[in-house]
């Protein structure tokens, strides 16, 4: 399956695939954990992990051409995912696997990210890239909202038929790939803002392309949820009478199309 936008050539190393629903948590936008009340030792551990992330991202965003950027992104991507998983695992230990607390932190992080892009995005990256980043953060929020549905005890413990189990495995690995790929590119923008490192003009379109894979992550998350919570059948709609007003509206729309410049 290909993604909307960038088509990553790499894949996740086998050990990095999420084997269970719980492991999906690593891929739904957990980043800085500043607001978590934790001991200084663990805080320092988070700080060290953040430094590793910064070094990976900085090595990527300092490239001058799109080709160099993409090659470096591919080379470092699996390490980035290892760090994502480490952060998530550590957070689960700190929060004692409290899904609601995790949800609150993820939502807060995403709100802050969105505000950062609203306040500084246009100035730093221009309108188009800033809009793409805001849409990506919004999509991560929608994706996370889908994933939380799976954590209901009645859902997570549901036994799936054999063919759905296979599909679930495939969806989880695809979800992890697309979601992490988008987050990697989002972190390129946030790191650029935070460390005041400008992106080269040739690199920005490649970053925007990478952000587009979050749409795929959402679409796959939706299919995972549908496996566990099949949609209810739709009720039949009552037929209505098509009248002159409907005809006029339809004709007007088609007339507009004739005149429209897209």
């Amino acid at each position: 399956m290909e993604i909307v936008g960038t088509l990553p050539q790499e894949s996740l190393a086998e050990g990095l695939w999420p084997r269970t629903i719980e492991e999906l948590l690593a891929f739904i936008g957990l980043s800085d954990k500043k607001e978590v009340d934790i001991s200084s030792r663990i805080n320092s551990l988070f700080g060290q992990i953040a430094n590793v992330t910064d070094s990976l991202i900085t090595a990527t965003i300092e490239k001058r051409t799109a080709a160099e950027f993409s090659a470096t992104a591919r080379a470092l991507f699996n390490d980035y995912v290892r760090v994502l998983r480490a952060k998530s695992d550590l957070l689960q230990v700190v929060l004692r696997n409290d899904v609601h607390a995790t949800e609150r932190i993820v939502n807060q992080t995403l709100c802050e990210l969105e505000a950062d892009f609203r306040d500084n995005g246009v100035q730093r990256f221009g309108t188009s890239a800033s809009e793409q980043a805001i849409f990506t953060v919004w999509t991560i929020r929608k994706t996370a909202a889908l994933i939380w549905k799976l954590f209901d005890p009645q859902v997570i413990n549901r036994k799936l038929p054999e063919d759905s189990v296979k599909k679930g495995e495939q969806f989880r690995s695809e979800f992890a790939l697309y979601s992490a790929w988008a987050q990697f590119h989002l972190e390129c923008l946030t790191t650029s803002m935070r460390l005041n490192k400008a992106l080269y003009p040739d690199v920005l379109p490649a970053v925007m392309d990478g952000l587009r894979s979050e749409v795929n992550a959402y679409a796959i998350a939706k299919q995972i949820v549908d496996l566990y919570l099949p949609p209810a059948p739709e009720p039949e709609l009552t037929p209505y009478a098509w009248d002159e007003e409907d005809d006029e509206l339809l004709a007007s729309s088609m007339q507009d199309m004739e005149l429209e410049e897209l």
């Binding site: 290909e2 809009e131 587009r212 209505y240 409907d246 339809l250 429209e260």
Partner: protein
């Protein structure tokens, strides 16, 4: 005629356009209205596709050709020597969503979107229409 969500049709802007004419504003549309709605009236709702890929941004999602399934019955030419527009990687202009007359959909359909692409398009439309009071 059964028009399905995710189908891609070549839509004629003018009633007088005969099939095979490539007028400026004729273009492919993805049908986004659901089947039950499509069955009820003379209209469907569609999102235009553009091959100007630089228009992709946020809610204007790019749909790679790999996420479209070409309908083999969509011919290569309108008439000998008159090539038809074929499906290619496109941008869905979700902010130009439009009511379409079913009679202007050129048969057969050009193809349809993969289920992943349909959900992606649905997401982009949600972004376009979402109320700020209800994020």
């Amino acid at each position: 005629m059964e028009v399905l969500q995710g189908d891609i049709y070549w839509v004629r802007a003018r009633d007088l356009d005969i099939e095979g004419s490539e007028q400026k504003n004729n273009r492919p549309y993805v049908i986004v209205s659901r089947l039950r709605i499509n069955r009820l009236g003379k209209n469907v709702v569609g999102v235009p596709l553009s091959t100007k890929l630089h228009k992709a941004c946020g809610h204007r999602v790019m749909i790679p050709l790999q996420m479209m399934v070409k309908d083999l019955s969509w011919p290569l030419e309108w008439a000998p020597g008159q090539p038809r527009t074929q499906l290619e990687t496109s941008v869905a202009l979700t902010d130009h969503v439009r009511v379409l007359d079913k009679d202007r959909l050129t048969q057969p359909r050009m193809g349809y979107l993969s289920s992943t692409a349909i959900v992606g398009l649905e997401l982009a439309l949600h972004y376009v229409f979402e109320s700020p009071q209800n994020p």
